[in-house]
Each structure stands twice: as structure tokens, then as C-alpha cells.
Amino acid sequence: MSIRRIFAVAKRIIRQFIHDRRTVALIVIVPLLVLSILGALLKTTPSYEVGFVNQDEGVTTPLSTQKISSAIEESLKDTENLKWHKINLEKAKSDLEDGTLDAYVLLGKSFSKDISERKSPLVIVKLEGSDPNASQQVLGLVNQNLLSSFSDQKLVDLKVDYLYGGEKFTSLDYFAPVFIAFFAFFFVIMLTSVSFLRERSQGTFERLFASPVNNAEIVGGYFLGFSIFALIQSLIVLLYTIYVLDVHFLGSLWFVFLIELILVVGAVNLGIFLSAFARNELQVVQFLPVIIVPQALISGFIFPIKSMPVILQWLSYAMPLTYANNALRDIMIKGKDLASVSFDIYILIAFAFLMILLAAFSIRKGI
């Protein structure tokens, strides 16, 4: 093993990168663009129109008739994302049908009576429902809004507190950490497999394999060369998310880099392995969706793993990005240290080793 030859290979990779300005631009600009779009999407939540139908007949005591719902109705507040319309049931039904309303809330006739008798009152939320995603959001907003009016009226005692994050945390904060891993993983696999394929097709491997350089030195050089770019990419993405997109970041940058380095070892070797099964650049690029899309969907990147069907959960545990995502979120959002994500790190190391083995067996294929 010669460090000198590893450096020679790494230097060559870096030079090839520098000559290829388009790729350099690509690996920096694409993540920033995607993050900016995502940031804009997550920051603007749409506004919903919700009807409020109060059929409460109140409770009659010998002295007076009391409507608990009136106080709630008074304390309903319009927010940025939710506008209340106090209407009767007929109007609510027709408005929901013609799309003027996204939902309505109905308080039943015995609302006050039930509360005074300590039974749970009937509250119906009727949703337009054609877009499940919107339904979820409306329901969430209505819940939140009603709950806070209930609590204003001292009907419930509601305290909100955050273990991690806080009111200021946005969805973007949740997504930013995993983007860093995702892009590094994606670009490193793509670039390694294409460069390796070129080595095979332009015959430079033929020359290298007749020289004193060995497989480990070639792989080492590739890893070194590509990790430099992966780290630069991450640094730019991190700085951009922190300073431009105002993402909250609690953890250590070094921990993030360490996790990424382990992931890049795996990615370089996976790229080498893939390149052995492709005859041209188009074929190798065709592998990428197969590797990338499932990981984007079920590694907890966008959808929480806990809410997935069991089979997909199992699959997600077979994916390296699942562990990288988990570790990066713990570090960046929860500010945890390496010891508390050691399980994820071990799995990533195991993945890297497995890929090194696969690469070692396939590196001279077709030579």
C-alpha cells in the first residue's frame, strides 16, 4: 500500500473535476436549488376556509339558559392559515359542496348540556376530503384552533412544550439534515460509477493494472478525491441552509462530516460495483434511479418510517440512508453527540465494508 499512489489517484480525480466545470456547478447548485424550492414550499402553508355551525341549545337552569359554546364561538381566532365563518348548517353544506369552504365544524344541540353533565359533547368536523393531504392539514389546524379556544375557556388545560426544537422550528429544519446526506450519496455514486466506467472504456485501467498500483490504492484514491468534493458540497449546503434559509442547527459540524465520510466510503465502492455491470455511461446512469428513488422514499427522508407499512419499514432498515438520516437528525436537530448515534454509525461502517468487498470483487471485471 503506497500513500503516494493513493494521493496520485486522488489528485487526478480532483484535476478531472476541476476541468469539468459543469459537474462542479451541478454538485453545488442542484442541492441549493432543491433546498430553496423546498424551503419556499414549506414556508407558505395555504389558507383554509372553515365554517362554524353552532346548534347548541344551551343548558337551562331554573335561573337562566347558558350556552357554553357562545364563549367558544367568541374566542375563535382567524389565523394566517385558517378563516372561520359562522354560519348555519344549510349554508355550510352548500358552501362545502361548491368549494367555498374546505371544512366545517358542527357543535351539536346538546353541547352545553353534555359539558355540564360531564359527558363528552358531540363535535363533528366535516372535511371536503378530495385531497387527503389538504384534509390532514385542515384537520390539524382546526384541532389546534379549537383546542386553544377550549383552553381559553378553561374547558381543558393545555400546555405545549418541546423536548427538541421549539415553536421556531420549521419543517425545513427537519429536512435539511437529510438533504446533506442524500446529495452527497447521490453525487458520489453517480460520479464514481461514471469515472470508473470511463477508466474501463478508455483503456486507462489497462495501463493502471500493468503498473504497480493495486486495487486498494485505486479505491483509496477515488475515495479521497471524491470525499473532498462531497465535503465541500456539504459545507456549502450547510452554510446555505443555516445562513440563507435560516435552518436551525444545534449539533457539531465535525460529527456531520464524520457521518458523511463513512457514507461516502460506501458510496464510492457502490459506484465501482455498479460500473462493473454497465457497458456504457447511459447504462450506469440507469442504475441510479433504482438505487436512489427507494431510498428517497422510505429512508425517512420525507415520510416518517414509523408511519410506513411493516414491509416498507423492514426495507428501510436495509438502507444505509435510513441510518445516515437518523444520525444526522439526531445530531443537527437534537444536538446529540456521537455516542448516542453509535448504532447508526456502526451500521454505516458495516455498509461501507460490504461495499468495499463487492467493489474488490468486481473492480477487475471485464479486464
Partner: protein, 240 residues
């Protein structure tokens, strides 16, 4: 050892059923230019790839340079110019040479000196900073030769080195090969051009992976009672 290469009973098959080399036996003496002459598909490249250690033979013995050396020590003494250019198209001429020099462990100063010497040998002064992709075919061939000479190998394998090279430069290359021989460097080159083969000190005539004959040109001519190599080759083909 007087011979720098000894090959005995070499066999190599490719799927489905191509006998690229069969029962090949030959010896190459130290310090000469040894030619592998044969038509397309006769096994020249396959033989060279086995000799440089890229390909494993199915059976047979190969002894090269000095058997007491390790594989990587031998590799450090071998230069290999592949049949295709085998250069990094996106790197410049100088960067390509710099990379191969570094792979062979040349120091920074040796690198600079060697790169300068070789660029002037292949007459590409002023093209140092050109990406290889922008060079002409013949120029790339010259860079490819330079890259295989970068570490001053003792044993040089050249797979059709002068294809696409203009006549005057070709003459200079042959003169350079001669001067390398005088410095003790052994050269094995493949060709299917008769007048180039005629410049070699010794020849092996190959056909369908079999050795038709091996020896000095005069010996081959005498053996077949021919006036020139072409005749000799044809007569060997008929009898073989």
C-alpha cells in the same frame, strides 16, 4: 537469465470457444527489439496482456524479468503502451504524464525532467496544456508512447506503436527504440506491417494463437527459402 521473457505451453481461451493462444512457447533475449507479427485476431494483444500481468493464462508457464522479484517490483520495471490510446481524455497532456509518473513513484524533480524529455521526444512541445481530447489521433498515439516510457522501464511492451504516426516521426521512433536497446532496454512490439517487422532483431510469427516460427529475420528467410518476410509468412502459413 539471458532471456528477459520465457513462455512455455501458454493457453488462453475466451468464451464461447476462441483459442486466443494455444501451446505458445517463445523466448525473448535481453536488450533486443522483438516483434510479434500476425494478422488481426492472431493473439498478439492477448499475449502482451498475459505478459504484463493483466490477464491470467489458462495454463502454461510465464517467466519475466527476474523470478525472484515480486509482482509489483516487476510491474515497476515494465512499460506498456496499449493498442488504444488509454489516456484521460479530459486531462491535459502534461497532467496525463504527471499522473502516470506519480503512479510509478517518480519524485517531483524526476517527474518534471522526464515529462520535458518525453514531450520533446514525441515532438509535442507547446501542447502541454492541451486536453488530450483536443489532440489529433497521431498526437494521442505519441502521448500514449510517452506515458509508457515515463518511468524508464527495462522491458517495454508496445502494441502497434506506430499506427497513425507519420513516416518521418516513425523513423525517429525506430531510431529511439534502437537507442533504448543499446541502453539495455528490451522491447516487445506487435505489428502487422511487414516492413516494420523487418526492423526487429527477432520475430515471432503468430496465426490463430499459434506460433508459426520464431527467430532472426535471416533465419526465417533461409528456413522458408523466401526473398522477403511476406513470402516467408505465406509459406509458413501453408505448411503450418
Amino acid at each position: 537469465m539471458e532471456n528477459i521473457i520465457e513462455v512455455e505451453g501458454l493457453n488462453k481461451k475466451f468464451p464461447p470457444d476462441i483459442h486466443a493462444l494455444s501451446e505458445l512457447t517463445l523466448q525473448v533475449k535481453k536488450g533486443i527489439t522483438f516483434g510479434l507479427l500476425g494478422p488481426n485476431g492472431s493473439g498478439k494483444t492477448t499475449l502482451i496482456r498475459i505478459l504484463v500481468g493483466i490477464l491470467k493464462p489458462d495454463s502454461g508457464k510465464v517467466a519475466i524479468i527476474d523470478d525472484s522479484l515480486s509482482w509489483s517490483e516487476k510491474a515497476a520495471k515494465i512499460g506498456y503502451m496499449t493498442q488504444t490510446h488509454a489516456l484521460y481524455q479530459d486531462l491535459t497532456l502534461a497532467e496525463n504524464l504527471d499522473f502516470f509518473a506519480a503512479i510509478y513513484g517518480l519524485s517531483a524533480r524526476e517527474k518534471r525532467k522526464r515529462i520535458e524529455e518525453l514531450i520533446s521526444l514525441v515532438k509535442l512541445e507547446g501542447k502541454e496544456k492541451s486536453p488530450v481530447a483536443t489532440l489529433s489521433g497521431g498526437m494521442r498515439q505519441r502521448v500514449s508512447l510517452a506515458a509508457s516510457l515515463i518511468h524508464e522501464p527495462q522491458l517495454l511492451f508496445l502494441d502497434e506503436p506506430t499506427v497513425g504516426i507519420d513516416p518521418s516521426l516513425r523513423r525517429e521512433f525506430w531510431a529511439y527504440f534502437g537507442s533504448l536497446n543499446r541502453q539495455g532496454v528490451s522491447i516487445v512490439l506487435s505489428t502487422h506491417v511487414m516492413d516494420e517487422a523487418a526492423r526487429c532483431d527477432e520475430l515471432a510469427l503468430l496465426r490463430n494463437g499459434k506460433l508459426l516460427a520464431q527467430g532472426k529475420i535471416e533465419e526465417l528467410l533461409a528456413q522458408t527459402r523466401s526473398k522477403n518476410l511476406e513470402e516467408a509468412f505465406l509459406s509458413l502459413e501453408e505448411n503450418g
